[in-house]
Amino acid sequence: MSVINRVVSGPPRPGNRLSVARLGAAESWDLTEVWELSGRVAGHLLGLGVRPGDRIGILAANSLEWVLLDLAALRIKAVTAGFDPGKFDATGAELVARYGLAVLFTDQDETADRVRPIAAVRELPPSDAVLPHVVWEPGETPALKFTSGSSGPAKSLLASAGSIDSSLAAVQEMFAHGPGDDIFVFLPLSLLQQRYWVYSALVFGHDVTISTYEAAFATLRTARPTVVMGVPGFYETTGAHLQARAARTGASPAEVAIEVFGDRIRYLWTGSAPANPATLRYFTDAGLPIFEGYGLNETCIVAKNHPGAHRPGSVGRVLPGKEVLIDADGVINVRGERPVATRYEHAEPGESEAMFRPGGIVRTGDLGHLDEDGYLFVRGRADDVIVLENGKKIIVRPIEERLKACTAIEDCVVTNPSQRQLVAIVSPAVNPVDTELIAAALRQANAALDHDEQVAKVVLADRFTVDNGLLSSQFKPRRKQIEARYRRLVIDPEEGIRA
């Protein structure tokens, strides 16, 4: 039986727990209680007239109620559409209209037609409704998910049950989550992959702790998880904090890592954006193995390093059920036995055709290669290739990575204003800016690069942040915005730091 159908087929074995650790409150339930409560919610949804295929919206921070609604939707074959309040500034009523929702539950203190307070979900009495026997076919779609692209309005797609199943099965094969494990989730449950760990707990018999972004640091050490699901931005900030703490207190990296993450970590998970190799090394050296992977919303997990097969610098081997095809331009294409989707639900004209190709193939737009042992290496975005006037194609990410290895450089974007020479726009790590150190980093990088890849000068930018629009919500530099904002400095020959 597929993983998703095991979730909906009946109550889990007792003995494993769902904990919700928010600031000011920590609660815990046996998963059998969670199952029972989700049944009440499912009955309530049926009473509201929700039927198979209808969409349930959830606009709320992580909570027990979030989990209950999602499980309830699975149990009546409704579709969960999760919205992160931090990313959607539309009202619940607007989301209902925009995405054709049967009902939306929110913690945003809004009342409107088909918009309901999520808090009421927990207090529902037992329902008399008889829940249907449910089977999810691989091509059916339990979730509407949204891409958090670096520009433009969010695109959405309906994710197939088959893709969820194959990803969960492959993850279980690699990491063998089970009794004794507690997976810590603080990223929004509006991201489908964060909900995987609840499904995994129900099926494979382990604990799961749901927290919030704000409470993550305060609750990690008390929750004492064995696995933390994070993103590179989280680990980079946390790594810098651990190093500062070690320097301040004289404790070893391993000791401060335990102070922050607790003493039971088995491994740390990262993905969704490129990770800084130095950060990955820091955590591994501190006794917290960290495994990078690769995947898009449109492909789900494609490749993943794991304890049995780990090659630093790569994003791991390709998962069973997935095939990576590198096209003539070096772009990674992914074919899935069970594709996530074959088109977007909401997108600009032409975007579906650009991403989803015939035969279940997704053109990722990322450049990469497979080594002789099947490990996938991602080198950057195809859009980030600079073609010089001599025809030489320059992939900028490895150059940017070299510069970012400098402690004075937090981030950078390499551009070419003239098609002849490259210029790096740098987000400084410290203020006042250490121009000597940056000049030295430029010299060092250029010494290791081919002539055409060498960077002529560095232009100092403001620190890239989400707030000033120079980073995406996933902490990726927004290249076009950065290039536009600093164009004058880039082209002015009097400006910049030279090697």
């Binding site: 921070a61 919030t212 640091f217 989280f234 900030t237 904090h241 500062a244 301040r248 203020n431 006042p432």
Partner: protein, 85 residues
């Protein structure tokens, strides 16, 4: 100078700011965002200062944290709970 909530908070904040700023030079009324503090670093700062002053972060909700926009507001909020500890 004896450790107070304010001096502890200033020291903890100085550690996470992107610029090198002496703790005593931080303007308590300037918004933390304007000092270059990212949202994750703000969480780290608050967690750290609560640790060092032994004021449990459990006194606050996510909403309370969002409302602490300046160093002065952080010190005031922590002081309220330190007094009743």
């Amino acid at each position: 100078m004896p450790d107070t909530i304010e001096t502890t908070a200033r020291a903890a904040l100085a550690e996470v700011l992107p610029q090198s700023l002496p703790p005593e030079a931080i303007d308590p009324d300037v918004e933390l965002d304007h000092l270059g503090l990212t949202s994750l670093n703000k969480v780290l700062f608050l967690t750290s200062v609560c640790d060092r002053t032994q004021v449990g972060l459990h006194h606050f909700t996510e909403h309370d944290l969002a409302a602490m926009r300046t160093l002065g507001q952080v010190v005031e909020a922590l002081s309220r709970h330190a007094e009743v500890r």
